[in-house]
Amino acid sequence: MRNYFGTYTASRQSEPITASVLLFDRSLSIGYQDESGANHTARWEMNQLSASVVFSDGESLIRNIGTGEELRIAGKEAATLVKEMQEEMAKPWYRKKSAGYKGRLALFFGGLMLVLALLYFLFVPILSEKIAETVEPETERQLGDAVWEAMQPGITEDTGASRLVNEFFGALNVETEYRIRITVVNENVVNAFALPGGRIVVYTALLDKMQSYPELAALLSHEFTHVNNRHATKSIFRRLGSKVFISLLFGKMGSVTSVLVNHADDLKSLTYSRSLEKEADLDGLAILTNRKIDPQGFTDLFRHLKTAAPESTLPEFLASHPDIDKRIGYIKEMSKQAPVESHAELKAIFEQLKKQ
């Protein structure tokens, strides 16, 4: 905005009066008082004006072409500015009211949303996983141990059972760069989990439910896959990547937006969790079938988990694991006609474990 003092002439018959002038991008505003002292403001659009410099006086003369009104301002600056603004407005990109403008705007935003979606769903997760793969197994072990240490108060280990389960896993002869350490914990929880770096925890209540060694083999191979395929580490890095991306995009959000965005991100991470569980099921199944261990162990294991868990009314998209019936379904599908042999050593260790 530029501001000037000038003289305003309403028509050829009128006397010029002192006025204040405000020069904006696309218009100018004139403020003056008439003979009775009443205040008036007149607004002239830039495209209605003709501006010139009166050489004899060195002043700017601006005429409203439509109404014949005139404005005189000392110096050349005002006229020069009006001409520059008129030239700018004549340029093609200035004509924003053209028919295609809204369409182009919609296209631009659509493209932008697509790019952001690709980044969030594809690029950021892939990049996060690539970074996770660079983490050394030793670092993973330290992370897993730190989590285990934090859990310690309240944990009672069944050392005899731990020794036997580790022996059982050793007998499976699974090749891995990780040092697998299995700990059996005395607790009435029908569950097991794996920590980064090689520690696997199995609760006694789940062991009590098992009837045959293929079930234990299925459990251990499932948990081993979580360790070997670095699922926990990948999950951590993916969540971190998502959060960093979201905070870059949304900045410091209000509480409502923050809750909505974080829960939406949580739902996405549940999808990833379910895909990892499926990978653990299928890669675990491969460990069994490669050793000709009965894949029925998996389906029996799932049935134990199903009877132990109360019937859930939650839809699958809110669950961290795939639906158990689905799991039984794809395990059966993948293990059709898998050859089966007896494993005396595994059977013996299992029976010793059950006697404990």
Binding site: M1, N3, S20, L22, S29, Q33, L249, G251, K252
Partner: protein, 105 residues
């Protein structure tokens, strides 16, 4: 129209005081400006994007002040004071308040 932070204008005495006027401009930088400014916050240095946003907010506030003065029949605004505040969650919006006394010189 004369807009100044001073209380007097040499050689142009006030003929009439037309009242205290104010104008405010609230402006938000968009997502991308926020991201670039956030990166600048990490690495240090001037943030040209936010500087431009601030300049725009100041211009808008002064423009509105001048229009209000003109509507009152003033040809000057004396004692102009500019206040800068951040508002909104996380201070992502900028507010500029311009206050002054509309006068006829």
């Amino acid at each position: 129209m004369l807009i100044t932070t001073t209380n007097v204008v040499e050689g142009r005495p006030v003929q009439e005081y037309l009242g205290v006027i104010n104008a405010q401009s609230i402006i938000g930088a968009n997502i991308f400006k926020d991201i670039f400014a956030g990166l600048r916050d990490v690495f240090g240095g001037r943030s040209k994007t936010y500087e431009r946003v601030l300049e725009q907010a100041k211009e808008d506030a002064l423009r509105e002040l001048a229009e209000k003065a003109q509507a009152l029949g003033a040809n000057g605004v004396l004692g102009v004071d500019l206040d800068f505040e951040t508002i909104g969650s996380g201070g992502s919006m900028l507010m500029v308040i311009a206050t002054g006394t509309a006068v006829r010189l």
